[in-house]
């Protein structure tokens, strides 16, 4: 068997494995996907909202936080990282309306959300610390539905689905599909203890747990992935509540989206490098999260190599064939060539792709319970065929940037596009 065929088969095996993993988890838990534990303790909650040039959205975020249906919110701390817009003024104005609103102005720009979160953490007095991105809007019932997971003393962090706010444009709709599929699969992974990120738009942490980790890693470009791995490392469990949500704004331009995803990928590499010594050690981090990330990167890079090799070879062959055929004045396409003979890999691939597509549709229809917008078939197919194809390219560029040590947040990358999903 050729090397290429072996590579294709390896990819197919991995696809079948993860597809089955999610199908089994779904079938086993489909009745209680949206269930959440009853709240047994009146946890005090402190909110921390890091902000840099978020004047446009922060007012709305703060209003949403204070609108949450929960009595024991101790304080809402906005950490202004030397914004050059009107963020500070917006918050100061709202302080008159909300006495529990605290504004912390960093004396100098700290450069990323992780450091600002740590700055806010110092002022947080609640049993639970909730971190919210300055352009995200938690649902009213979020705390009531999420906090009950802390009844289990081993749980250190809780996350919920992130949904795209006003997904009207095509590019937003595609991201909306992605966010919903991710939320669904994260919930399923939660049943195995495999949640590997508690994303920035809304994540609740037990104060004791976050103190044990030493706070957010100020050097990491995806501090919310890093803190989650740190929690796993310290033995804390993470839960996902599917019955509520936080909505957020997403990049509308491809260039912003690309920078956001590149940053996430670099952050992922930083995490892998930081926790590499944990590989294959007992526990979810060493046995699942880390191998899963490494596999994802490896498959992305190898896949891209194969894509370029096969694509390049085909282009060159067809170019030469066309050139020779034109010179010889013979047909470029004959009836015989129109009759395609598929290999078994083609059939196998089509079956796997179809099942994946069905699974995507199932996840989207399940996720409708938390979001009513409809997605047409074209958008889902575009997501599955085109959108996901861009990731390996981003992975390759991210690896290059990582090794070139280009791991600082760009100024234009700080605003609006920094959340993880």
């Amino acid at each position: 068997m050729e090397v290429l065929s072996s590579i294709y088969l390896a990819y197919m095996f991995v696809s079948i494995y993860f597809l089955l993993l999610f199908i089994f988890l779904y079938l086993h838990n489909k009745k209680n996907l949206f269930a959440y534990p009853e709240l047994k303790k009146n946890y005090s909650v402190s909110f921390v909202i890091p902000a840099y040039n978020e004047g446009e959205t922060i007012g709305d975020t703060i209003k949403h936080v204070f609108d949450i249906d929960y009595k024991n919110i101790k304080e809402v701390i906005v950490v202004n990282d030397c914004s050059t817009d009107n963020t500070k003024e917006v918050v100061e104005n709202l302080q008159k309306k909300y006495p529990k609103l605290i504004l912390v102005n960093n004396p100098k720009n700290l450069g990323n959300a992780g450091r600002s979160k740590n700055a806010g953490l110092k002022f947080a007095t609640g049993d639970v610390i909730a971190f919210v991105d300055a352009d995200s809007y938690p649902a009213k019932d979020s705390l009531k539905k999420m906090l009950g997971y802390f009844n289990d003393k081993k749980v250190g962090a809780i996350t919920c689905p992130i949904l795209v706010r006003d997904a009207n444009k095509f590019f937003e709709k595609i991201q909306d599909i992605e966010y919903r599929v991710i939320a669904f699969t994260r919930k399923l992974l939660g049943y195995t203890g495999g949640i590997y990120v508690t994303p920035g738009p809304l994540a609740l942490y037990r104060k004791e747990a976050i103190k044990e980790t030493g706070g957010f890693d100020g050097e990491n470009m995806t501090e919310d992935i890093e803190i989650t791995w740190n929690l796993i490392h310290h033995g804390w469990e993470r839960e996902m509540c599917l019955s509520t949500h936080v909505s957020t704004t997403v990049p509308q331009k491809f260039s912003d989206w690309y920078k956001q995803r590149r940053r996430w990928t670099i952050g992922g590499i930083q995490c892998m490098a930081k926790y590499k010594h944990e590989i294959f050690k007992r526990g979810m981090l060493g046995m699942f999260v880390l191998p899963f990330f490494i596999l994802q990167f490896f498959l992305g890079v190898v896949g891209l190599g194969v894509f370029f090799y096969v694509g390049g070879t085909n282009i060159l062959t067809n170019y030469l064939f066309t050139k020779y055929s034109i010179v010889a004045d013979v047909p470029l396409l004959t009836m015989n060539q129109l009759y395609i003979t598929p290999s078994f890999l083609n059939y196998f691939g089509i079956v796997i792709f179809s099942v994946s597509l069905i699974f995507t549709f199932i996840s989207l229809s399940i996720m409708k319970k938390t979001m009513m917008k409809k997605n047409n078939i074209f958008n889902v197919i575009f997501f599955a065929v085109i959108y996901l194809m861009v990731y390996p390219f981003i992975t390759l560029i991210a690896i290059y940037k990582y090794f070139k040590r280009e791991t600082a947040w760009g100024t234009h990358d700080k605003k609006s596009i920094r959340k993880e999903i």
Binding site: I16, Y17, L20, L25, D329, T334
Partner: protein
């Protein structure tokens, strides 16, 4: 909440089962194609053996040139169509190695057919041309693959234009068949693809139809 880590193991077992079913079905698909090639081979083999018998029995019975010529033409057409089908199945073949030996058997039959054509031509004094197309089978370069694709279409055009005037015989030149190797050596062929016309003219550089056509008129 009870962790369901056992699902990782279930998924592994399930994926191994599905993967193996897929591989098994792949084998079944390729086997059915090889079966098709086998039955084609059997029918071609009968025809060629019959032809050889007729040629060799010249001493004991009357030699029917017309009938032999007719059979030869039909045979040549079948061979060209078979060659294309085998090529397609080979391109889509992943698991089974059997198709490679099938290709060799067909190459041998085509070589036999070529030899018969030479004999028929001699004995019946007929006016047709043997156009033998020797191509690279094992790991052709991109350049060779593209050129062979063009030549294959060019020969299709040639066959359409000249019909019964030519016997088109495609044979892989580097498939390690001793009899083909001997012929390759005899005609001093050092590179593929190459076209051999009437066992006299070796054309290595085929760019236009006329490169072949000029030797047919």
């Amino acid at each position: 909440m009870t962790s369901q880590k056992i699902v990782f193991l279930y998924a592994l077992i399930g994926s191994l089962i599905i993967f193996n079913i897929g591989i098994f079905m792949g084998y079944m698909l390729e086997s059915s194609r090889i079966e098709e090639i086998n039955s084609m081979y059997a029918s071609t083999e009968i025809k060629i053996l019959d032809q050889i018998t007729q040629i060799n029995s010249l001493a004991v019975m009357e030699f029917d040139c017309d009938s032999l010529m007719k059979e030869n033409i039909n045979f040549a057409n079948d061979i060209f169509a078979e060659a294309r089908l085998i090529q397609k199945y080979e391109d889509a073949n992943i698991l089974s190695e059997e198709i490679i030996s099938q290709h060799k058997r067909f190459d041998l039959l085509r070589t036999l057919f070529w030899m018969n054509s030479i004999k028929i031509k001699e004995k019946c004094d007929l006016d047709f041309h043997n156009v033998v197309y020797l191509y690279k089978y094992n790991e052709p370069t991109i350049e060779q693959k593209s050129r062979q694709g063009m030549i294959s279409n060019l020969l299709g055009e040639l066959k359409e234009k000249y019909g019964e005037k030519i016997m088109l015989i495609p044979i892989s030149g580097d498939n390690d068949i001793p009899s083909v190797n001997l012929l390759v050596e005899k005609y001093n062929i050092t590179e593929f693809p190459v076209i051999l016309i009437d066992e006299k003219i070796v054309i290595t550089d085929v760019n236009v139809l006329n490169d072949v056509e000029k030797y047919l008129n």
